[in-house]
């Protein structure tokens, strides 16, 4: 009841959630339609295996990503509506009713997003199949099919992820600031430990093992997940070592320290993005170089691996960028009142932008630093075992590109949003939210 009304009256606010649901559903359906395609009659076993692996790996990633993306946008959404939820609570809504409202909204938005994703997913799936066929990994005769598996998984996963994320977000909001740092820290250290073991186990493989890349890649990803979960504390550590002077820097450091918890999501995306993109792309480059140096032609398995690596990185890059833009835009535009207060206290628009810029820079540097650390932890063992080097030459170029994308997205979004927000006169900005 409440849910429908609140969506109908504020469609704009749900745009971010809709976008993540849409993208998530599109990716899940695109790849799961490979299952449908592989399951058709008369598809040879090599083709079928290629298609199923692609669907399985990317489908799994996709589910995780949808959950994170929707969760992060919903958390921001719920936090910004704290006042509205409080008002509803004061006018007699029980916590259960609030929960139903927020979860209901999320489900409706997810349904719309999933429905919108069907068309693009069909086109995407067709393109993917053609790509596999062009590279000879799948027989030309295999026709494309978009069937039950694609529909069911796409809609179900998106719905479940949205509902679950909304439930968690609203529970956190209605419970107030209750810290549950213990479990999180345990998981983080667990991820770091398993990641280290996984990375170290690379040395147990021989150079020609087909699975050589797996422990290094998974280790790097696990390490980055561990770092990501520790993000607020890492940020704290970086802030303590920053010699920042000047009014903008001074304000930025204090803002970041206060909001470390809220910024964790953004930092998490940055760390994961840097680690996954750098590690996967560099390892793939090393692999290709080695194969080329040995003068062997790539087998279908090699090609599959390469395609998968590039697709996974591509998906993660797009997703994380969308998430970053999403959450940074929301977080920055929400600060209209704070910026107004700074201006009334004597900050020029340039100083406000400077503060936002320094904040973005510190976030980028922290995220990239720990992301790169995780990536290197995977890259170095892999390179040592596979090609007798230590650090492949490609890592610099790839690293630089990844850093450039991360910095451009983070700084670009926050500065452009802040500049737009600053167009509101200071007095009006302060009055808007009060």
């Amino acid at each position: 009841m409440l849910a429908m009304r609140s969506i109908r009256h504020r469609p704009g606010r749900f745009l971010a959630t809709l976008l993540s649901a849409f993208l998530g559903a599109a990716i899940i359906m695109t790849f799961n339609s490979m299952h449908d395609t592989a399951g058709q009659q008369g598809v040879d076993s090599t083709s079928s295996e290629t298609l199923s692996t692609a669907a399985g790996v990317v489908g799994g990633y996709g589910t995780l990503l949808v959950f994170f993306a929707v969760a992060s946008t919903l958390t921001v959404n719920v936090r910004q509506r704290a006042a509205e939820l409080e008002l509803l609570r004061c006018s007699g809504a029980t916590p259960a009713q609030l929960k139903r409202m927020v979860v209901g909204e999320a489900v409706v938005v997810a349904l719309v997003g999933a429905a919108m994703a069907i068309g693009p997913a069909m086109l995407g799936g067709r393109a993917l199949l053609e790509m596999f066929q062009d590279s000879g990994q799948v027989a030309e005769s295999v026709p494309y099919s978009f069937g039950t598996i694609a529909y069911v998984t796409g809609i179900d996963i998106t719905l479940l992820a949205s509902a679950g994320a909304a439930f968690l977000a609203v529970r956190r909001a209605t419970r107030g600031q209750e810290r549950r740092g213990g479990a999180r820290r345990f998981l983080a250290y667990g991820a770091l430990l398993v990641g280290t073991v996984s990375v170290a186990s690379t040395f147990a493989f021989s150079a020609s093992d087909a699975a050589l890349m797996a422990p290094a890649a998974y280790g790097a990803i696990l390490l980055s997940v561990g770092f990501a979960m520790l993000a607020p504390r890492l940020l704290e550590g970086v802030l303590n070592r920053l010699p920042l002077n000047g009014a903008s820097g001074w304000l930025a450091v204090r803002n970041l320290r206060e909001r470390a918890g809220q910024l964790a999501g953004i930092l998490m995306s940055l760390i994961l993005f840097t680690a996954v993109a750098t590690a996967t792309l560099t390892m793939q480059a090393v692999e290709s170089d080695t194969v080329e140096a040995l003068g062997i032609t790539k087998s279908v398995d090699d090609k599959n691996l390469e395609t998968l690596n590039f697709t996974v990185v591509g998906i993660i890059v797009v997703f994380v960028c969308v998430m970053l833009v999403n959450s940074l835009y929301a977080a920055t535009s929400y600060r209209v009142r704070e910026f107004g207060q700074q201006r009334l206290a004597g900050a020029t628009p340039g100083q406000v932008l400077g503060t936002v810029g320094v904040e973005g820079l510190v976030l980028t540097v922290t995220g990239v630093l720990f992301g790169a650390l995780a990536a290197l932890a995977g890259i170095i063992p892999f390179t040592v075992v596979r090609s007798d080097g230590v650090l492949p030459g490609e890592v610099y170029g790839i690293g630089a590109a990844v850093v450039a994308v991360a910095a451009a997205v983070t700084l670009g979004t926050s500065l452009l949003t802040a500049r737009r927000v600053l167009r509101v006169p200071a007095v009006g900005a302060v009055a808007v939210a009060s």
């Binding site: 009014a247 204090r254 320290r257 004597g346 900050a347 340039g350």
Partner: protein
């Protein structure tokens, strides 16, 4: 620095004006739906005075304050603060002009939530790139009765305490003029009295000039004089105001305007 406070008693001639408005007009909206918030207001306020600006809702009180303080730009007319004319220019220029000349106290305090009491107080100095004297900040905060709350955050303080932090913040740059926009609007009577006494002290002890917009006759009675505003025009002045006299005058403000006085 400037020592207006000690000189005031000896000066026989007219005190230099802290604030001067000449034929200031401000219109909102366009053509058909245009509303004239200020209609050729001319006034001058001497240094070291405490003036209340009163009038019914929509009389242009806030617009007057915003225009005088350089937060809003008048369509026409001249605004002069401490002898310097407020000219056009970007927001950055206006901000730099306001620094050190103007202090603000708002109804909604406008303290930054991420900063402590002490940090909020020195923020204007930080932003102006001045050296921050911690001792001075502590001194000012002690003078508003918050010497033991330096490390607290705004959300740990009561409304009255927050407003006193805002006053400390307005005082710390030693501005020529302090503008207060309904400073007691959100406070209980006791906190309101503390805040008004602090504003009074800023004038009597430190020689600042205070301009306060309010709709409360009791608050206005703390000022040296009251300016009445109706429909964007000045509608009279009262020196040494009492709450009753102010309320009485306010009640008949509409009549005066209707009669064209």
């Amino acid at each position: 620095m400037f020592r207006t406070g000690s000189r005031r008693g000896h000066d026989q001639g007219p005190a230099p004006e802290a604030l001067r408005l000449v034929k200031v007009t401000r219109t909102y909206g366009s053509d058909d739906s245009a509303v004239t918030a200020l209609d050729g207001v001319t006034l001058g306020l001497g240094r070291g005075t405490f003036t209340a600006v009163m009038g019914p809702s929509g009389s242009g009180k806030s617009t007057l304050l915003h225009c005088a303080a350089g937060l809003d730009r008048p369509d026409s007319g001249i605004v002069r603060i401490d002898g310097t004319e407020l000219t056009g220019g970007g927001e950055a220029e206006l901000t730099k002009f306001r620094r050190g000349r103007i202090g603000f106290v708002f109804q909604q305090y406008n303290l930054l939530e991420t900063l402590t009491v002490a940090q909020n107080t020195v923020l204007p100095l930080k932003l102006a790139g001045q050296r921050v004297d911690r001792r001075r900040a502590k001194e000012v905060l002690t003078s508003v009765g918050l010497g033991d709350r330096l490390g607290h955050r705004p959300d740990q303080l009561s409304g009255g305490q927050r407003q006193r932090v805002a006053i400390a913040r307005a005082l710390v740059t030693e501005p020529r003029v302090i503008f207060a926009d309904e400073p007691t609007g959100a406070l209980d009577t006791r906190s309101a009295r503390d805040v008004l006494r602090l504003l009074q002290q800023a004038v009597r002890v430190h020689g600042r000039t205070v301009v306060m917009v309010t709709h409360d006759p009791v608050a206005a009675s703390y000022a040296d004089s009251v300016l009445f505003l109706a429909d964007g025009r000045l509608a009279g002045r009262m020196d040494a105001p009492t709450p009753d006299a102010v309320a009485e005058r306010l009640a008949h403000l509409g009549d005066d305007v209707a009669m064209g006085v």
